[in-house]
Amino acid sequence: MGPYRSHPVFPPMLKAPSTLPTGRAVPAAIAKPRPGRYWITRLREDAFGYALLAPALLVILGLNLYPTICGFLTSFTDQSLLNPNTWNWVGLTNYVKLFNDSVFRLSFAHSLELTFIAVALQVILGLGVAHLLIQKVPGIHFFRSVGMITWVLPIITSVVMFRFITLPNAGFVNILLRTVGLGSFARNWFGDPGWAFALVLIMHLWRNIPFYAISFMAAMQAIPVDLYEAARIDGASAWKQFWHITLPNLRYIMLVMVVLHVTFTLNNFDFVFLSTGGGPVNATEVLATYIYKQAWNGYALGYSSAGGVVMLLVLVLAVFLCRKLIGGMDAK
């Protein structure tokens, strides 16, 4: 029961006191409330709240829950995008086919790998950059503003830029390598199975690290300076100050950033599809591109929905684990 409530009677689970703090007896009407009155009053109050929430709830249910349920049901059918009105229930066939497909298993592994490495590096490097950005040096405001450019740029622009600078003949990176005598390292970076995945990862880091840094920096500025002063007086080293003061105070923003970016990275389609198309030889295929190809190249709506359901379950699990992990810091 929240403190904002002012119910006229005590809820049934609490026993009413028999005397008031002044020592006088509690009036009979309060001490023995009529049965059910609590719930009627509560319902009356809550109904107004639910009425206010209803439009937003309806929109959320209509736009999120309904398609999710439809997608889940479709995953048990052989529905095709070309003939959506003719379909049969196929039970778990799509899921069995999915896990028997080596490209799906590879995409699954790539998605997890990319998400884990990208988010972990974004947090670590974001903290490092935040530490630099919080310093009071001339011109730091300029860097704080400029840093966000990578995050504001549309993904297509970022990918086209990366593709141009890594072109085998006309790309800046290869021209630079040849100029400094390292021509043997020049290559079509996105077309090299050994480098394509790393480049997709680099694009994620390039885009997101400044956003992490600015968010962490904002949270760092809210930490009371007294804590650091007290720690210094007690002889705490810079590392201990960071570990025992900065990090615990960043846990909420960290939770938000990690949950957001686990979702973003695991769901991300644009970076891979636009830069490599999932190749070379499936080296960068991730769940999102695999599902897209099944839906739009094979028009297999049921099969691709099964892939979507697997992706949803992985996401829910990943977000749950993140909450546990970062929430655990609070308990410590």
């Binding site: 995008l81 085998p168 190749g279 190809k293 739009w296 094979g298």
Partner: protein
């Protein structure tokens, strides 16, 4: 006289509310107008106002639609999404609602629309059209499925081999006629001309050009036939090739990248997208390239490109394998009629306008592609243009794709090709694997 405060307050609110009300009203009226509009909704990707449309096309539409269409019929003027893939996906999802009435697209898209029952056959209207005999039969055949015509062609082209005349002459080479000639000539140029690869190819996953180049070489090995064949009696598709033939094409790709030192094609360009393939050729980084006519438009990008494309480029048919058939990928762009259109009569009038001699001539000249109309091909702009003539000469060797769902087959072929050029597997083993994958597509009814 002073107004009570409440009036001042209300007049302030009115100041904000009035323009807001006007905006909402305008929004409602325009939405209602678009819903109840009698305009023909046309999706014509090169005209799309959401993308880098060609100004000449829009200007033509603006001037000629009001003139050519029956009185009271107008065309909605945003022309749909700017990308074929995007338009195709949207049409599959919303086409059954009747909008757009007319859609322009690519052959692979038309096949999908036909399978989905989204487009109407045009035989009745087409047969009554006075211009029907002006269309090149092979382009009409490409748009015919089960004896029914599903689109009017307005734009066509084939893949040929472009070569640098100056470089071949410099090293005493002839334009290649066979696959072996091609590999050897390209390897010679790679070895002797610093900074130039003998051959440029597109091999990126998901790039439609990767498939178009592969299938062009495949058609030559497969007697100019598609990899799938329809049994007329059972109306079932079967695989119409062998693991050996697929292996032969894959072996060609292996030779391009690994035969000779240096090889015909630069290994560092594996995974190139079509933009890189085009840029490499007209910037002088590659000496030969399988290509369509559109690259000629790049001659205006600079002096190097102009000199290469206008003065130093030769055009020849794609080289042949031993015992092969002269064949190549034929691209035909159709204009289609939505089967659910509520105004099919006027929609057909729009199709006729877009298939007219005037429009086809203007569009084909602007895009640098070949005319599917005989009367347009006879115009001086086309007849006296060496580039147009070089490509038009190869049109009879063009093979249109069979009416199957190519989406997953394209993935299979690209993956097989990449396995070979990245040395994951031998060409012959990959040929067998690809053959099995195609068989699977047939057995699983995925075509």
């Amino acid at each position: 006289m002073r107004f009570p405060l409440i009036f001042v307050y209300s007049s302030n609110i009115m100041r904000i509310r009035f323009p807001l009300t006007c905006l909402v009203a305008i929004g409602l009226v325009s939405t209602a107008a678009s819903v109840f509009s009698k305009d023909i909704d046309l999706w014509f990707i090169p005209m799309s106002t959401d993308g880098p449309q060609k100004p000449g096309l829009l200007q033509w539409a603006k001037e000629n639609f009001p003139k050519d269409l029956p009185k009271g019929v107008a065309v909605a003027n945003n022309y749909g999404p700017p990308v074929y893939q995007d338009a195709q996906q949207k049409f599959i999802v919303q086409g059954r609602r009747g909008k757009p009435d007319v859609i322009e697209g690519v052959l692979e898209g038309m096949i999908a629309f036909q399978k989905a029952g989204l487009i109407a056959p045009l035989n009745d209207e087409f047969d009554k059209w006075a211009d029907k005999d002006q269309f090149v039969p092979s382009t009409l055949k490409a748009l015919t499925i089960n004896g029914k015509l599903y689109g009017v062609p307005y734009n066509t082209n084939v893949r040929v081999l472009l070569y640098r005349k100056d470089l071949l002459q410099k090293y005493g080479l002839q334009p290649p006629k066979t696959w072996d000639d091609l590999v050897q000539a390209a390897a010679t140029i790679s070895a002797k001309e610093s900074g130039v690869a003998g051959l440029g190819l597109t091999t990126k996953s998901g790039s439609v050009r990767t498939f178009q180049e592969f299938i062009s070489f495949f058609f030559q090995v497969n007697g100019g036939e598609n990899p799938f064949k329809l049994d007329e009696k059972t109306q079932k598709w079967s695989v119409n090739t062998t693991p050996e033939k697929l292996g032969q094409v894959l072996q060609l790709y292996e030779d391009f990248y690994f035969k000779g030192s240096p090889s015909a094609a630069n290994q560092n360009t594996r995974g190139n997208d079509y933009q890189a393939t085009d840029t490499d050729y007209y910037s002088g980084k590659s000496a030969m390239v399988p290509m369509g006519p559109w690259i000629y438009a790049n001659r205006t990008t600079g002096d190097v490109a102009r000199k290469i494309l206008e003065e130093n480029t030769g055009v020849t048919a794609l080289p042949l394998p031993p015992g092969g058939t002269q064949a190549t990928y034929l691209e035909v762009k159709p204009i289609m009629l939505n089967a659910a259109s509520k105004d099919k009569g006027n929609a057909w009038e729009v199709i006729k306008t877009l298939g007219s001699k005037e429009f086809v001539a203007m569009d084909n000249k602007l895009e640098g592609v070949n005319p599917p109309r005989k009367d347009v091909a006879e115009l001086p702009d086309f007849k006296n243009d060496w580039w147009q003539q070089a490509f038009t000469a190869q049109l009879p060797t063009g093979v249109a794709l069979a009416p199957v769902n190519w989406g997953l087959v394209v993935n299979d072929m690209t993956e097989a090709l990449q396995k070979v050029i990245y040395k994951n597997k031998s060409a012959q083993d990959t040929g067998k694997e690809l053959y099995n994958a195609l068989q699977q597509r047939v057995q699983n009814n995925q075509l």
